[in-house]
Symmetry: C2
Subunit: 130 residues, 2 copies
């Protein structure tokens, strides 16, 4: 990257991270939220596919690297405080969630409990084969 000044605009937290929302560019569905550091966002912009920072694994996470369900990035936005990233993506395979669902937000509050309202599209055992 010859000029990375745009990365300095972001208000990275103490750990150098920010939440990134992936939104389906077609349907508008919010698919998932993960974390990015500076290098993950730079890589996302450069390759045009979502690359996150996995806090649990402590490494870069090219979304879909295992499942094949990559996210082609159509647009990268930031909010007014420059501390949240919004990606508009085409979700390959139509599955963003490790549970095999389209979106990670498949539970809805109903009468004081969490109700699962979205179906599993594909069995996770078929998606992750190692």
């Amino acid at each position: 990257m010859s000029d990375s000044g745009w990365l300095d605009t972001l208000q990275w937290d103490e750990a150098g991270l920010l939440p990134a929302i992936a939104q389906d560019a077609e349907t508008g569905d919010v698919l998932m939220v993960a974390w990015m550091n500076r290098d993950a966002l730079a890589a996302t912009a450069e390759r045009g596919e979502a690359v996150y920072w996995s806090r649990s694994r402590g490494r870069f996470w090219h979304k879909g690297e295992e499942s094949g369900n990559t996210q082609t990035v159509r647009e990268i936005r930031i909010d007014c405080d420059a501390d949240v990233i919004l990606l508009k993506v085409d979700q390959r395979g139509g599955i963003a969630c490790h549970t095999g669902r389209r979106s990670c937000f498949f539970r809805r509050l109903h009468d004081g409990h969490w109700e699962t309202v979205d179906a599993v599209v594909r069995d996770p055992g078929e998606i992750y084969r190692d």
Copy 2:
């Protein structure tokens, strides 16, 4: 709240907070991201309007308390890890952002810089009159 077990499902962070995304229930636009603690989420569910926890002010923030631009909550969702909240809302006044724009995500990455792509709907000076 007679039964608040649903609040225990959430994986509150060390500060007792979680990010909450407000999404326009009609258009699907992501409007803003703010923070909630347990009591803010309980209040949101109870009154049917978004109540956040303001980290900068250290107090509850009933969205729209100054501007009148409240958010009527149609649906509350959580993600697979139960550490992000998603609200589907009707945005009163059509303005979620303190800059007077519909959404806080009005900047888009274009050719290595952040480009403002959404117009100001109403002058913030008219919205906040104190």
